[in-house]
Amino acid sequence: MSKKTIRILIAKPGLDGHDRGVKVVAQLLRDAGMEVIYTGLHQTVDQILKTAIQEDVNVIGLSILSGAHIPITEKLMKGLKTNAMNDILIVVGGNIPKGDIDSLESLGVNGVFPTGSKFEEIVDFIKTNVG
């Protein structure tokens, strides 16, 4: 069984335009050997889902810094269910208060990486958890 290259969609949902973090993570994952597709800013959840299907990705990473991470993630998780996209690994990063990590995980998010997360932890998590 040959290991396929991991394809990851890095997405900036909503109106928040702070993209320093998302671009750092995109460069990191590309350097770690993954194929990174970055959506650019101001994406709706539907646009993100559409791109994920088109690009046939294994992972979706959301970056949210405005504080609206719960409602946005909720919407994405619903959309994944509707589209029967069950085997995609979902990670969320950004300005996420500790207290919200559990809530995100209970929505079905696989990994939460708040600002300041270690590079190795992000890379290892994705590599280990992509089936």
Binding site: G14, L15, D16, G17, H18, D19, R20, K23, V24, A26, Q27, L28, R30, V36, Y38, T39, G40, L41, H42, T44, S66, G67, A68, P71, I72, N95, P97, K98, G99, P114, T115, G116, K118, F119
Partner: protein
């Protein structure tokens, strides 16, 4: 042996300048005081734009605030004014910044979250209720929809019975930096530049005391740029705006003085101070030599230098109080006109009242206890500071030349080149933090694991969102909708011409046309920006 090695270890600043272990008169022997440095208030203003600096008037203290609805924000404004704050800085929520009304499906979850929601003139009336806007200068942190919010501000002043020449304040209104960092762009580059030019032209003819643009190196630096890039890109952007206004036949002496700057403070203490001194000198030269201005006021670089959020940490947040105090000290030693500090809880949340108050007190302590206002540019003449100022000026100038050689800032931003440059820098910086090469106390050194975080997160109140939408609904039903339609039709027609749009936008807001309705009409004519996604 080990000791010698340590002494010889290179110290290199973020801007790439190597720091010597000792500086002496030898390092400044070619810097002619009467030509290159000069007294405060004298060209090229290295030491400050005013002969007496803070002795004559301390810097303006202007904390960024605004959340939920205009009524809530009005309460915070009044509190800050009571506590001695001397200027206001309005934060708008993302839908307002992106030209969406509170009831737009795309605004869901974002209404009133990172600033106050504005749909119509009514909201701006509420925000400034009981605040005489000729008495306090107000800064509007708004960019792609700045023309609309400025129009509202003008009408609010009118309703307070003030003539336009009484209006003081600043609109951020710097769209080019939005494409580099912060990202609240709507229209393509060219029509966005037209709107900026319209506002500058309108203000120079009608609201002489207003600063229609605050060019922001701040967000460029916060997005990852080093201190040299921060100033260089901001100056290139300012030059792009100026060239467009000049092309309309307006005299350089009549408007350049009303363009101000917003810069960032975090990083090396001395490098920051030298950066501002160098920037002031370079701007004076650019305005004099490239734009042939003769009005000294146009040559004076006026700025808000703020303690940047990028320097603050989530870890051990109380350390941010200390960082904020040093940033304020840097700002004071740099000769800023206005100061703002990110508050210690700002890496998490919209500042609590307590955190905002500590920031304000930090500045007041510097002004009233520590003697920072006693004499102008107290570090002037330091061998190190003067040498560093000189080196930074050269670096900034070179960085500007490189971009100009490649076809200029507007094309570099349109193609995403500057964005790529800045995010590359952000990645390098982050790698250095992760490896420990660059120390961030409490983050990659002296870390306390399992730390309890006692910061209270600003509660987003969904009831206030409902109230905002209800108010909007009511206004839409009670306003004169015929007038609204006429105002929008007129704006649409004029947007197709080269006419200045400000008077038509003012007519729209006056009849309670919404931010979303105006933006939609402009989108029809201007189209939308397509982001060059380059990593």
């Amino acid at each position: 042996m080990k000791n010698t090695q340590q002494k010889e270890k290179d110290v290199v600043l973020e801007s790439g300048i190597k720091v010597k272990p000792v500086y002496s008169p030898e390092d400044v022997k070619d810097i002619d005081y009467s030509k290159i440095i000069q007294n405060p208030g004298e060209y090229p203003y290295t030491r400050g734009i005013h002969p007496y600096m803070y002795r004559a008037r301390p810097w303006t203290m202007r904390q960024y605030s605004g959340f939920a609805t205009a009524k809530e924000t009005n309460k915070r404004f009044k509190y800050l004014i009571e506590q001695g704050q001397t200027g206001l800085n309005v934060a708008f929520d993302l839908p307002t910044q992106m030209g969406l009304d509170s009831d737009d499906p795309q605004a869901e979850g974002e209404v009133g979250r990172v600033g106050m929601a504005v749909d119509t003139l009514k909201d701006m009336e509420y925000a400034f209720e009981g605040i005489p806007i000729d008495k306090i200068s107000t800064s509007l942190t708004i960019n792609s929809t700045a023309a609309i919010l400025l129009a509202m501000y003008i009408v609010v002043a009118e309703k307070q019975g003030l003539s336009p020449d009484k209006i003081r304040g600043t609109a951020q209104n710097d769209i080019l930096k939005e494409y580099i960092g912060r990202g609240t762009w709507i229209f393509p580059v060219e029509p966005s530049l037209r709107l900026i030019t319209d506002t500058i032209e309108y203000c120079s003819k009608n609201i002489p005391k207003y600063y229609p643009v605050s060019v922001c190196g701040y967000h460029i630096r916060e997005s990852g740029a080093n201190p040299v890039q921060e100033i260089a890109y901001a100056y290139l952007i300012a030059k792009a705006y100026i060239q467009r206004v000049l092309a309309r036949g307006i005299d350089a002496n009549d408007f350049i003085a009303r363009i101000s700057f917003n810069f960032d403070i975090h990083g090396n203490f001395f490098e920051q101070i030298a950066k501002f001194r160098a920037a002031r000198r370079l701007w004076a030269k650019i305005v004099k030599d490239e734009f042939n201005a003769t009005n000294p006021k146009a040559m004076m670089m006026k700025m808000i230098a703020g303690g940047g959020g990028g320097g603050l940490t989530i870890e051990q947040p109380e350390n941010n109080i200390v960082r904020g105090a040093y940033y304020a000290l840097i700002s004071a030693l740099s000769g800023t006109q206005t100061m703002a500090l990110c508050s210690y809880d700002e890496a998490y949340t919209i500042p609590s009242e307590k955190a905002a108050l500590i920031s304000l007190r930090t500045m007041q302590i510097l002004i009233e206890e520590m003697g920072l206002c006693d004499t102008a540019d107290p570090l002037g003449g330091s061998y190190y500071i003067e040498a560093l100022t000189d080196q930074l000026e050269n670096k900034i100038e070179n960085c500007m030349k490189q971009v100009e050689k490649r076809g200029g800032i507007v094309s570099a931003i349109s193609k995403g080149e500057i964005q790529r440059e800045v995010s590359k820098q952000a990645y390098l910086y982050e790698k250095m933090i992760q490896s420990g090469e660059l120390v961030k106390v409490g983050v990659n050194k002296y870390r306390i694991e399992e730390e309890e975080r006692k910061i209270k997160i600003h509660e987003h109140n969904p009831a206030l969102v409902k109230q905002q939408i209800k108010t909007l609904d009511k206004i839409k039903k009670t306003r004169d909708n015929k007038k609204v339609k006429d105002s929008l039709d007129k704006l649409r027609d004029m947007a197709k011409t080269e006419e200045n749009l400000m008077p038509y936008i003012i007519e729209c807001v006056r009849v309670y046309t919404t931010v979303g309705e105006i933006t939609k009409v402009l989108k029809e004519i201007f189209g939308e920006f397509k982001e060059p996604v380059i990593i």
